[in-house]
């Protein structure tokens, strides 16, 4: 086999590799972009509940941070242990930042007093304010669930929703994730990361005090899809 054909073969191989790289680049660009497009599904209305430490917690406490909200009750034995388990994993995964908080709202305020919530929090291994457990008047909880989060709240306490709601720094609802399943939790984690990186101007006072936004490992590979498609289709056609 002559050196010429050998060189020709290598050049052909290089062209194939470059074409593949370009096409792969487009696909990866598009995939990355699609993951960053998280819809706005609504806005959390005003509410006023009490934390396990007896302090007030309102809508304002959601602003400036990314929040994951769910509804539960401490004596629940079926769904809530699974949901709290998932929430707990997220709580521990994001322990390096103050910008992500978790809010569990009780649907059985008659039983779930601040003292009961304190004990529950301890059981879950919660040692700081990043995971809040709230209690408040039942009517208020029902209104927040049904009208605020558009989650059903019939036949409480058993009938509470098993969905986690993702709320951004401006108090807007960005997604719902089934807290009983594994795959939605994977997606939730991903979307928390996206929200952490975007809309940085809405970061809260506490967060602004830190030197910079949490360092996020991400792939920087956005290029104009139109340009890449053009190059890719040209090579393929040729």
């Amino acid at each position: 086999m002559s050196k010429g054909t050998q060189l020709g073969g290598l050049i052909a191989g290089a062209i194939v590799a470059v074409t593949l790289a370009v096409c792969a680049g487009i696909v990866l660009s598009e995939a990355d972009r699609s993951k960053r497009e998280i819809p706005v599904l609504g806005t959390v209305p005003e509410f006023e509940f009490t934390t396990r430490d007896g302090k007030e917690f309102t809508r304002d406490d959601l602003l400036g941070r990314i929040s994951v909200v769910d509804f539960f009750f401490t004596s629940c034995v079926t769904a809530c242990p699974v949901m709290s388990g998932s929430m707990g994993e997220l709580y521990r995964a994001f322990d390096d930042t103050d910008e992500v908080q978790f809010v569990s709202i009780s649907v059985q305020p008659s039983v779930d007093t601040p003292a009961v919530l304190r004990a529950y929090a301890e059981e879950q291994g919660v040692t700081d304010d990043r995971w809040q457990f709230l209690t408040g008047p039942l009517a208020g909880v029902v209104t927040l669930s049904e009208q605020g989060f558009m989650l059903p709240a019939d036949n409480l306490p058993m009938g509470h929703s098993t969905k986690f709601a993702l709320v951004d720094r401006r108090g807007r609802i960005r997604g719902y994730y089934n807290g009983m399943e594994n795959k939605p939790m994977i997606k939730l984690r991903e979307q928390i990361m996206v929200l952490l990186e975007t809309d940085v101007s809405a970061r809260g006072a506490a967060a602004s005090a830190a030197a910079e936004p949490p360092r996020v490992f991400r792939r920087r590979f956005y290029v104009s899809p139109v340009a890449w498609t053009g190059v890719c289709s040209l090579s393929v056609w040729r």
């Binding site: 050998q6 593949l20 790289a21 995964a93 792939r219």
Partner: protein
Amino acid sequence: MTGLRRFSWASTIATFIVIFTGGLVRVSGAGLGCPDWPKCFGRWLPPTSVDQLPPEIDASLFNFTLAWIEYGNRVLGMVLGLLIVVTAILALVHARRHIKVWLPSLIALVLVAWLGWQGGQVVASGLEPVLVAAHLLLSLVLALVLLYMTLSLEAVLDPARGRGASYPRKLTPWLTGTWVLALVQAAIGTQLRGALKVMREVEPLGGHSEWMAAVGPISNVHQMLGVVVVGLALHSAATFLKRAERPEPLARQAAVALIAVASVQLLLGLAMLLFGTHALLQVFHLWMSALLLGSLLVLLVHLRRARPLAHET
């Protein structure tokens, strides 16, 4: 037999293409693009908008781009399956007397069917790292089985080819060792990737250096073994090119390809170590490992078939 030859080559090349697209699915995060199998969101064709989702499916999981990327890989896998079915039928009809041709085709058929089903298990498990690793390793085995079949077929169709060739006999154990180590290295690579994924889930705010440090000795083993494999591959290919007499064109091409692929693979590994496991680097690193194993196999098959060098007998 021309039909069999065409389908044999087509199946082999198609497998390497599907390995590439599979890697693409993985690094783009589209593994759960379709959360069910074999349908996608309860339909045979992925939905193009959220309102096309059946009510019982969780709408939060829907991402149009990721669904179609994942689906694309499934469709290509299916096409590959059909190619292998035709290849196997043709092999049984036309190459009945050549066990080195029809047996690999049957093995390939079983493997591709298993891969298809196993892909469904990967999705159902929520991308369990062990199953994802098995999916890649199985596809590597499939590619090598088909490559072996194609090479055997070429030898059957043209027995005179390469008759004048002689190769340094001592290369055979070296190449075999390199091939085995490359396979082990691929397996270690999947484990490293799985470990990094767990790190990313447990500490999403960490960075590349933190994750690599936390992953433990497996990353050092992968790096060192990578250098060893590349070194062995380059040495074997260079020795072959220098010392082989009247080598068969395919063997020569494989040696040149081996040098190119091994060098690129080393550079990619270095880049990932220094700059992070960027998606595009990962895709090509994975694919190069398949090409490396393939080139090694081609060389090995030719070496075992041909005569040793004159002064070695």
